[in-house]
Every structure is written in structure tokens, then in C-alpha cells.
Symmetry: C2
Subunit: 246 residues, 2 copies
């Protein structure tokens, strides 16, 4: 037993029969009728990984996860498979699942890819945005700026994510949007320990970007987004080097 009595999630009791209860908090929230258990397990595990409750490199023993989540091994296995294809865990044959260990190199590669995709999404967004869309963008921008003034980091991060996500959706390319979402979640996880947020500059850049989208200037929007994400990337690098030298 790797972790005999330490509950991995808050749920507590987690005897086998308590399954409908133990996961309901995470599962029954969203769906009406058919809530496949594996989906709930997937979300729960992803959350534990993103939270770093489950640490990079940690060996995930199926039976332990199953018991702590109050389900059998099967849904856990299926969730782990999915987590593997998305890069959250590594599945070593006959050895099981290990939380993926982020390397600096991989983090940088992911960040590059995200930048490229976001740049493209900005270009498409400029081509497709309606005046109503622009209004919404401006609302998100205002929210971000006011959060910044209030020094509410949580809100700034949320507004930033919302703004980028909205542009992504404006692109009208759902394949692209999903890809960005996936990559973005990983990037955030990789860089989370740095606890980095950019300040006023970022939101000035956002404003220019929104203006370009409003004008429908795809070329400019792409250029600005490219520059913006590239600066974010530089900021990460500097931050990482600073925290490593400590």
C-alpha cells in the first residue's frame, strides 16, 4: 500500500458502496442524466494533478486511486488512459501510471506551439468578429483592467484566460480552439509554480489587439498577438531563470 490511510481527496469515507456520493460533488454538477463515472474520475484526477496534490513523477497505483475515489479500478484505468493521451501522466507498460514530469524544454515547446496557434486564432478572429463580439471583448478587457487596479490576482488571471478563450472562439475554428485549450491547460500547469502574472503591459497589448480585431485588420491582429504571446514567453523565461538562480 503506497498510501494506506491518507485520503487523496476530501471525500472522506470512500468505502466501495459510497461511490454515488463520493463523486457526486464533481460529477453530478454538470450533467443531467447519463454521467459516466469515468468522466468524473478523469476530472477528479486531472484536478489532483493540476493542483499538485499528485506530484510530478509520483507513481499512481490504480487500486489506491480507486479506493480513495470510491470506485473500482476500471474507471480509473480508463481515466488514466485518457490522461496519458493528453500528456498528464506517463503509462509505463506493466508498471502503471506516473504523473508526468514537466521539463523546461517541453514547457518551452508547448509555449511555442500555443503562441503559434493563438497568433493564428487572432488572425481568424479579426476576419470574423462582429461589432457585438468586439463589445464583449471590450467588456472582458475592462474587467481585466479593473481587476488589475484592484490588485486582485485571481481575477486578473481569470479575465486574461477569458479574453484569450473568447478570441479563440471568435476564430470560428473549433478544432483550433480545442487544441489551444488543451495546450493552454498544460502550459499553465507547467508554469504554475512560477506564480507569474504580467502586469499593465499585457493589458495595453490586449487593448491594441482588440482595436486591430475591431478594424478587421487580420494581419495586424496576428502580429500583435504574436508579439504579445512572445513577451509572455520571455517573461516566463526570465522568471524561471530568476527563481532557479535563487
Amino acid at each position: 500500500m503506497s498510501q494506506p490511510d491518507v485520503p487523496l481527496i476530501g471525500a472522506g469515507t470512500a468505502t466501495r458502496r459510497a461511490k454515488r456520493e463520493s463523486l457526486s460533488s464533481a460529477a453530478a454538477r454538470k450533467v443531467e442524466r447519463p454521467a459516466p463515472l469515468r468522466q468524473a474520475v478523469y476530472e477528479a484526477l486531472l484536478d489532483l494533478i493540476v493542483n499538485r496534490t499528485l506530484k510530478p513523477g509520483q507513481h499512481l497505483v490504480e487500486i489506491d486511486l480507486a479506493e480513495h475515489l470510491g470506485v473500482s479500478r476500471q474507471p480509473v484505468r480508463e481515466a488514466l488512459q485518457r490522461l496519458q493521451t493528453e500528456g498528464w501522466v506517463d503509462l509505463r507498460p506493466a508498471q502503471g501510471a506516473f504523473v508526468h514530469t514537466p521539463t523546461d524544454e517541453e514547457a518551452d515547446q508547448l509555449l511555442s506551439v500555443r503562441n503559434v496557434l493563438e497568433t493564428y486564432s487572432a488572425r481568424l478572429a479579426a476576419e470574423h468578429a462582429t461589432p457585438e463580439d468586439v463589445e464583449q471583448l471590450e467588456e472582458l478587457q475592462n474587467e481585466g483592467v479593473s481587476a488589475l487596479k484592484a490588485k486582485d490576482v485571481e481575477r486578473v488571471v481569470a479575465a486574461n484566460a477569458a479574453l484569450h478563450a473568447f478570441i479563440t472562439r471568435l476564430s470560428g475554428n473549433t478544432v483550433l480552439a480545442e487544441m489551444i485549450a488543451t495546450v493552454d491547460r498544460r502550459v499553465r500547469w507547467y508554469y504554475a509554480p512560477l506564480a507569474l502574472t504580467r502586469g499593465k503591459d499585457a493589458w495595453t497589448e490586449h487593448a491594441d489587439l482588440i482595436a486591430a480585431i475591431a478594424k478587421g485588420d487580420a494581419e495586424l491582429a496576428a502580429t500583435l498577438m504574436g508579439r504579445h504571446t512572445e513577451r509572455t514567453r520571455s517573461a516566463y523565461h526570465e522568471h524561471r531563470e530568476a527563481s532557479q538562480s535563487k
Copy 2:
């Protein structure tokens, strides 16, 4: 029983106990010791989908797949999960797996994304390529051109794929490379019914691209790759419209 006696794969007998045999052809080929069965099932099913032995929209009944592959339902389920996350099948809760039905819109979106990623990979390739790499590129180019002269469509397609894959790897960004590979496989599947290959032009463009990479001119390489993939996309569009109007 949806398809009681029609073997889905060539394997033939496929009684339950024949498992180690029936899949060995596909499984034991690559790995030495630990060859998880689900991996073989995944590859087999993907092959059946790409082949169109399993048709878009078709309901995939787990037990049927399992029996025809000579394994139990469990590895099949796990393979289907993975196929879902990669977009090959749709998993409807409590209803099972259906082969994903490609739409023109989605195909175009995938193609766009692939183009963006490949353009970026060309840029990186130009930055990283060594003289030896360039030599290899030229070999692949020669192979393609000679295949073209011989009018050997199979070889042309293979050479084209190899050339693009090599550039992709030259980028040095493995995350990017894997993404391109995934997207590319889907794109090929979507457009396979069109049975389209571009001719001499494509290989002229390749030659220019290789020259740019050889010079280390990243900007030019990116531009050329962008143009090249965009032409491929146009070719697909024209071809599709032509075949639809028939």
C-alpha cells in the same frame, strides 16, 4: 449480434483462446517483451477506420470488435477511449462508439491548423538544419521526383509524407512534431476519398523550400511552406467541389 459471422479483420478463426495468435501479426512485430494488448487493439482498430473497413457513422459494438479481434471487451474499451480523444470515434454515453463522421467544415479546419503548424515547423527547421540534414532532405526530394517520373503514386505519396515528416522532426520541437503527425493522419483520412495527389508543382515548391532551409533563411522557409500548404489546400477544395458536382 450486429454482425454475427462477418469477420471484421482477416484473422479468421478468432475464437476466444486464439488471442495470442490472432493479434500477434500486428502486435509482436514491434515490441520485444511487454506488448500491452490494448496497444495492438488500438492499432488494429485505427487501421480498420483509416481503411474504411469501419465506415463513418457505424456503430461499433464492443463485443463484436472483441470477438473478431480475439480479445475480451476490456482492451477494446480502452482502445476506443483513446480513439475518442484522438477524434477517430465518438463515444456517446450508454450508447457506445461510433466512427466519427468527417464534415467538410471540420476537414478544412484541420487542414488550416496543419498548415499553420507545418509553416512554423519549416521556420524552426531552417534555424536548426545541419548540412547533413539538408543532404537527407535532398535525398527524399530526389526519391519523390523519381517516383513522380515513374508515375508511381504510392511512392510519391510516401516520399511526400516522409519529406514533411523529416522537416517536422528537424524543427526540434517534439511536441509540435507529434501534433502535426496526429493532425496529418486525420487530414489524410478525411481527404482520402478524393484520392488526390499534386504533381510536379508540389515538388518544385519542395525544392525551393529545401533551398531556403539550406540557406538557413527561416523567414523564407516559413513563407514557402505556408504557400505550399495553402496550395495543397486549394487543390483539395477544387477537387472536392469537382467531385461533388458530379
